[in-house]
């Protein structure tokens, strides 16, 4: 019995339900197919969307996807991206109170983990990092901020993230970084415009 389920998504896309833990393993396996019928692969929290170039290709493509074997993490993972973090966020103390930890313990709980980029969403280059210590998993703030500065390191629910640009936001702010999360110029050089790509390993280093 396979754990994966394929749902049709319009004329030329399918949504693979694979579960949070294997989203990147499946996305990596699909990328490795290097299938010319595929125009985009969009990992998300528990699913991977695969879009075909033409509707005529979706039948064959979803047949091939039915039997795809997800990669093991070791088969595609690269060196961790290290983000220098200043833990001076406005919500640091409140997070400490709500999680029952000291501020130092919050910082070490947040920075002692290898995170995995589960997916990007919300704004260009905004990466949802999974692997957050369960003690730090808090609901979003009751009232979102109208402006969270670029580079803010934040947590909400099962994720941590860095805001690539200033935007409204309801996450708890733990600190900030000077790292550039999204840069269109990197794309001109043939690289990913996003510093954090789905599937990558990420670490925060307190500075």
């Amino acid at each position: 019995m396979r754990a994966m389920k394929i749902l049709r998504y319009g004329e030329r896309a399918v949504l693979l339900e694979v579960g949070a833990a294997r989203v990147n393993d499946y996305a990596a396996a699909i990328e490795r197919l290097d299938d010319h019928d595929i125009v985009s692969i969009v990992p998300a929290a528990e699913t991977v969307l695969v879009q075909a170039r033409h509707s005529s290709a979706i039948g064959g493509l979803s047949f091939r996807l039915e039997t795809i074997e997800p990669l093991q993490r070791a088969e595609y993972v690269t060196d961790p991206v290290v983000i220098d973090a200043r833990y001076d966020g406005e919500d640091l103390e409140r997070v400490a109170v709500e999680s029952g930890l000291g501020v130092d313990e919050v910082i070490s709980a947040h920075s002692d983990v290898d995170y995995r980029v589960q997916f990007c969403g919300f704004s260009p280059g905004f990466a949802y990092l999974s692997g957050l210590d369960p003690l730090l998993q808090l609901p979003r703030r009751a009232s979102p901020r109208t402006r969270v500065p670029a580079g803010s390191i934040a947590i909400a629910g099962p994720y941590t993230a860095v805001y690539p640009t200033a935007s409204p936001g309801g996450w708890h702010l733990l600190g900030c970084t000077d790292a550039v999360l999204f840069d269109a110029h990197r794309f001109e050089e043939g690289r990913s415009p996003a510093l954090l790509e789905p599937g990558q390993t990420v670490r925060f280093r307190p500075v």
């Binding site: 998504y9 319009g10 996305a27 125009v39 969307l49 969403g121 996003a194």
Partner: protein
């Protein structure tokens, strides 16, 4: 001075081309012209190659001045066109002398018109496209009065002098839906309501999406949905019960169920919906 100057940008005018594709995994929306056939036609009429940048207007009321001799054509939502004090027609190439002014009136049907300039607009490419992404704030910002637009070099092809098909804009469109991945998250009764009752495009309508007013639709599964991919044409059911049809600047993921997906050939039709316009949905066969 060369190129053209924006004297009035109307409600919202943006630079658009074919958009950015394949970058959804970085949370980059596709953007690009909302009504692709109208956009492509405008380029064809002035002899541009495919993929050249044009101006997309919203409910017309745009005023431009040519700062050099230009060849211009307007397609999409039909507007009254004036070249200085002379009337002009949609879907035709016009020679516009330096110093001449082009006025677009308000369309009586449809929402978005396209102004193509021979040579194309020379905005800087961001992630391979000159399109304005109104959600992700990529590409040039929306046009404003006083903006000066630079025109690229003329292509070698001559403007096409042929008759062009004007694609009609329907006053009472019927939108064909394919089942969405989360159709089963909607009550069966609501699924019937969706395809039997009239809905109205609300005034919450932009390049990101269109919210529809009508009878409330209810969910059969009310637990939270983990964020999953969104595509242009996806019809999402938020907790308010008023469905949202996503456009070219859609977010790349969302946490509410996608109950239907618009047939792709109808994306241009959806791009021309106006606030208050009545539509019907039906399941595509």
């Amino acid at each position: 001075m060369s190129g053209l100057t924006v004297l009035d940008a109307g409600l919202l005018s943006t630079i658009q081309d074919e958009g950015r594709s394949g970058l959804e995994a970085y949370a980059v929306s596709p953007s690009g012209a909302a009504d692709k056939p109208a956009y492509r036609l405008a380029n064809r009429i002035v002899g541009n190659a495919a993929g050249v940048a044009v101006i997309e207007t919203t409910l017309g009321a745009v005023h431009l001045r040519a700062e050099q001799d230009l060849v211009i054509a307007v397609t999409g939502a039909p507007v009254a066109l004036m070249l200085d004090d002379m009337g002009a027609a949609m879907g035709q190439a016009y020679w516009v002398r330096a110093g001449s002014e082009l006025f677009l009136g308000r369309p009586l049907v449809g929402l978005r018109s396209y102004i193509a300039v021979r040579g194309g607009l020379a905005a800087r490419r961001v992630l391979g496209s000159r399109s304005t992404d109104t959600l992700g704030h990529l590409g040039p910002r929306p046009l404003a009065a006083g903006d000066h637009l630079v025109v690229d070099h003329d292509p070698e092809r001559l403007p096409a002098p042929d008759q062009v098909p004007t694609h009609p804009i329907e006053a009472h469109p019927v939108l064909d839906l394919l089942p969405g991945p989360r159709l089963d998250w909607m009550e069966a009764a609501s699924a019937k309501v969706l395809t039997s009752a009239p809905f109205r495009a609300s005034d919450q309508l932009d390049r990101v999406g269109t919210r529809f007013d009508g009878p409330s639709l209810f969910r059969s599964i009310t637990r939270e949905l983990a964020s999953e991919a969104i595509l242009a044409g996806a019809l999402q059911l938020p907790p308010s019960g008023a469905p949202i049809l996503f456009g070219p600047d859609h977010p790349t993921t969302g946490g509410y169920p996608v109950i239907g997906v618009l047939a792709e050939r109808q994306l241009p039709l959806a791009a021309q919906l106006r606030p208050g316009q009545e539509v019907r949905f039906r399941w595509a066969r």
